[in-house]
Symmetry: C2
Subunit: 283 residues, 2 copies
C-alpha cells in the first residue's frame, strides 16, 4: 500500500493532540501534509457521522471507519456520554488516535432547555472540539447566540426533513438564524432535504455561506417515504451536489450518515466512500 | 428501495434463460429493459470476475455480488468445474438466477495443449456463453482461430503484467492475434497493465477495437510490487480510463477483480462498485 494517494495521509504520522487545551486543527493545516504532487482541488474532507454506528460500540465504529479510509468522526453521545469524565474523554481520544481518527464535532445534540444549551457547550469544550451539531428550540437561539460569542464555537443546526417541526430544511434554519451571530449556521443533511422534496444542490448554493457541516446520504425517493441507501443508488445527484459544495468554497467535513443495514453497515458505507472518492477524483 | 436507478434493473423481472441451447443475450437487449428516462450514456456494464471469490463457495460469491448490485459474473472453474454435468450446469445457472446474476463468460482458462483448447470451447458451449477469457500458448493460436470460426465464440486473452512471459500487456496480445480472426482479442486487466509500467488509458485507446472483456482493479504502485487495492486508493486514473473505454464504444463488461482481503473482500468490493458508479453518474 505504498505510494498511493489516500493512504499517505494515514501513514504520514500526524498525531491527534487536540484535547481541551489544544487549538483546533484547521483543515488547511491537515491538507498540507498530503503529497504536494497530489494536491486536492477541494477544501472539504470526508468524515463519518457517529449516528451511522448507533448499533455498535466505539471500537467497532472506529475499525469500520478506519477500514474505509475516513479520518474524521462526528461524535455521538452513545459513544462518548455527555457526562464523561476527563479520563473517559482522554481514553476516547486515545482510541480514536489508534485508528488515525479525529473527533471533529459533537452531535447532533437536542437542546430543549437553557440547561441543555449550557451542557452542550461545556461538553464540546471538554471534548476539545469547536463545532456543535445541534437542534436548539427556537426560544433558545438568543442564548445560543451568547454562547457562541463566549466560547468562540460554531453551532450547526441539523435539518431532519419531513416530520421535523423545527428545522426541516436549510432554508428554515437560515431564516431562523440569519439575524444571529454568523457562528450559528447549518448542518445540511442532504438526505432529509431531498425527502422534503427540496433540491440539495439549490439549498447548497442558496445557503452555502452558512453551512458548517454536512451529513451526506442518498435516499430512495424524494418524499417522506424515502429511505437511506447507498450513495448513487438513490435519487440525489451527487456529482452536481459536490460541484456546488466546492463552488461555495466549503471547507468543513462531508460526513457519511448511512442508516440502512444498521446492524451490518460496512459494505454500504464502503460503497458510499467509493462513490464519494470517484467524484472527488473526477473534479 | 423503490424508484431508484440501479435497483430497477433487478426488479424488472428479466429472466436468465441462457442454458446450453439458448442464444446469448446481447448487452444491448438487456440495456433496453432499463427505464427510458434513465438512459445510460455508455454501452458497457459492470460485472464481477469470479476470481475475486477464490476463497468462497458459489453461494457466498453470489450473495456478495448481488449485495453490491452487480448482475454479471465471469465464471471461474472453482465455481463451475470444467467437467461439470448438464445437471450441475443447470443448477449453477439456477443459483445465479436466484440472485439476478448471469454468467456472461468463462475463465480465465489456461490452454497449454490442443486438448485444453478443445475442452475450453466445449465447456463454454455447455455453459451457454459465447465469450472465453483465455490464455492459450502461442503455438495454439491457429487452432483457436479455427475454433472461433467453428463455434462463433470470442476469445479474450488476459494480460497478467510482470512475470507473464506470454501476454504481459494488451500490446503484446494485439501483436500476437492481429493476423487471426477478429474474434480473438483481449481481456484487458488494467491493474496488470499498470503494474507493468504501462498506461491503461493509452492501451485502451490503442487496442480498444480488439478488447472484448475488462478486468478492473486498482494497484498500489506502477511496478511489479504493485498490489491490488480499492479503486481510487491506488495509482490508476479511472475517470480517464472510463472516458477512454466509452470513447472506443466498448459494449462488453467491466468486471471487478478485487484480490485484496480475499478472505473478507465485501467492503473492498463495495468501495470499488461505489467508485465505478460515481464515474458512470459523472459521465
Amino acid at each position: 500500500m505504498e505510494n498511493n494517494r489516500r493512504d499517505f495521509f494515514k501513514k504520514s504520522g500526524w498525531k491527534i493532540t487536540a484535547l481541551a487545551a489544544t487549538p483546533y486543527l484547521l483543515p488547511s493545516q491537515i491538507a498540507s501534509s498530503k503529497k504536494p504532487s497530489q494536491n486536492r482541488k477541494i477544501s472539504y474532507e470526508l468524515g463519518m457521522a457517529g449516528y451511522t454506528f448507533v448499533k455498535f460500540p466505539l471500537n467497532d465504529a472506529l475499525e469500520m471507519t478506519q477500514r474505509v479510509g475516513i479520518n474524521y468522526l462526528c461524535i455521538k453521545d452513545f459513544h462518548l456520554p455527555m457526562d464523561s469524565s476527563d479520563k473517559q474523554i482522554a481514553d476516547f481520544h486515545a482510541k480514536c488516535e489508534k485508528h488515525n481518527i479525529k473527533g471533529y464535532a459533537v452531535g447532533p445534540i437536542y437542546m430543549k432547555s437553557e440547561e441543555e444549551v449550557n451542557k452542550a457547550f461545556d461538553y464540546a469544550q471538554k471534548v476539545g472540539v469547536q463545532l456543535i451539531i445541534g437542534v436548539p428550540n427556537y426560544d433558545l437561539l438568543p442564548l445560543v447566540d451568547e454562547k457562541v460569542k463566549e466560547y468562540g464555537f460554531q453551532v450547526a443546526i441539523h435539518n431532519h426533513g419531513p416530520g421535523d417541526d423545527l428545522y426541516p430544511t436549510p432554508e428554515v434554519i437560515y431564516e431562523k438564524v440569519k439575524k444571529f451571530d454568523r457562528r450559528i449556521g447549518i448542518c445540511h443533511d442532504v438526505g432529509h432535504t431531498r425527502r422534503y422534496g427540496k433540491d440539495p444542490v439549490a439549498m447548497t448554493m442558496a445557503y452555502g455561506d452558512r453551512i458548517y457541516d454536512m451529513h451526506i446520504k442518498d435516499v430512495t425517493e424524494p418524499t417522506a417515504k424515502g429511505r437511506s441507501c447507498e450513495m448513487g443508488r438513490g435519487v440525489i445527484d451527487f456529482p452536481s451536489l459536490f460541484a456546488a459544495i466546492a463552488k461555495t468554497g466549503y471547507a468543513g467535513k462531508c460526513s457519511i450518515e448511512f442508516e440502512k443495514d444498521n446492524t451490518d453497515p460496512l459494505a454500504g458505507i464502503a460503497e458510499c466512500v467509493g462513490y464519494y472518492n470517484a467524484i472527488e477524483d473526477s473534479m
